[in-house]
Subunit: 232 residues, 2 copies
């Protein structure tokens, strides 16, 4: 199979004209990959969680690239033309939002906040507004409208789902692309690498912030999320 | 008179309930005031240019805080409740836009680009989008609409005016406030401290970038702008 793309946490292979296989690696990175480690089992858990969450979204009528989980580390997906944009949806202030705007971590936002970032490692993924999207030619207006609509709907679905399992969805990052049928769909992964998830009772952080800020064993947090979501 | 506010380049005194006097200092600062100098005559030229440009806007039906020039360094203005937002309008890529998005300086933008920054020294005036404005409670939706409308109209007026005098208006920063009659108006100053102006023929930079990047005598550039604008 042809290697299409190797990112920090995943490798994408082309299976045929319309389908790809995503391979989940064990590599964890943070702060523009200045912090990096191999964490055994991360790829397996992220593939398991992503597969569960993509299936949930598909069941709720959201277009995604997900076809099925193939093995412990492999997911079968539709081939997509990726938009070079990271879409972040926030329910609670945390991370870069707090640093940028001087907000206190943990502040509940009155309504979900949607932010756009230009996916560009060299430029350190800068925040962009609607006008920059068009200036950079990253998306058309109609595509942005669809992306916003889907992202907010995904937030509502995931937030309720995690709450049912005792987890607070603080924020998360989505990527989007054009699927083979030309529709806009959610691509990439949805995992504790891309979602901030806090225990609803204790406030304990179970996501990648454990790795970023050395808050505890990463895999213990990830496995607890997987267990909760699987009803364990 | 009561001192209301002392900024990096100006002092604002309260004259009466509805009016203030702005005093233009000679201080020049750049890069969050880490670079600073006293430049004799800057205040005088900036007051002269601001007064000419505010009068031009008023004549074109734009609401501003400008009443009249009082003396070499003093301007009489309406008292305003300032929005803590800097509005930047760009016609040509330069400065932070190039650094943030990797654009080449001098690239003409297809349409004017309007950017918003949170006026907050501690946070280094971060870029914000529409949603952050509301999150931070900086402006109401109706006020933002009015600010955008005025800013783009000001760009069109100033761009044509400077072009008539051989100057390219690359970009500029505006501040806005609520005037005593509760309408949204342009406040602060409009000068080579807040506008990037290039000679249309030679491309020479005549504005504060001379100070920022040691490109030549600041006052020579500022005086050439004033002479051009006065038809000299």
């Amino acid at each position: 199979m042809k290697l299409l793309y190797e990112g920090k946490a995943k490798i994408v292979y082309e299976l045929d004209e319309n389908r790809c296989i995503i391979y989940f690696k064990d590599t964890a990175t943070a702060f523009d990959a200045t912090k990096k480690a191999e964490i055994q089992g991360k790829g397996t858990v992220n593939n398991a969680l992503s597969s569960i969450l993509f299936a949930l979204l598909e069941d709720s009528g959201i277009k995604t690239h997900f076809i099925k989980k193939l093995s412990d580390r492999e997911m079968l997906v539709w081939k997509a033309r990726r938009f070079d944009v990271e879409v972040v949806v926030r329910n609670v202030a945390a991370g870069s939002l707090c640093r940028r705007l001087g907000l206190d971590e943990g502040k509940r936002l009155k309504r979900p906040l949607l932010e756009l970032f230009y996916k560009n490692d060299k430029l350190h993924d800068p925040l962009i507004c609607r006008e920059h999207l068009f200036l950079l030619g990253l998306m058309k207006d109609s595509e942005l409208k669809e992306v916003r609509r889907i992202a907010l709907r995904v937030n509502s679905i995931l937030k309720n789902f995690f709450e049912d399992h005792g987890l607070l969805l603080v924020d998360f990052k989505l990527e989007f692309g054009l699927l083979p049928d030309r529709s806009v769909g959610v691509i990439d992964e949805i995992s504790p690498d891309t979602c901030r998830l806090w225990d609803m009772k204790t406030g304990e952080k179970l996501d990648k912030d454990r790795f970023r800020f050395d808050l505890g064993d990463l895999m213990e947090g990830y496995r607890r999320i997987l267990q909760r979501v699987q009803g364990g």
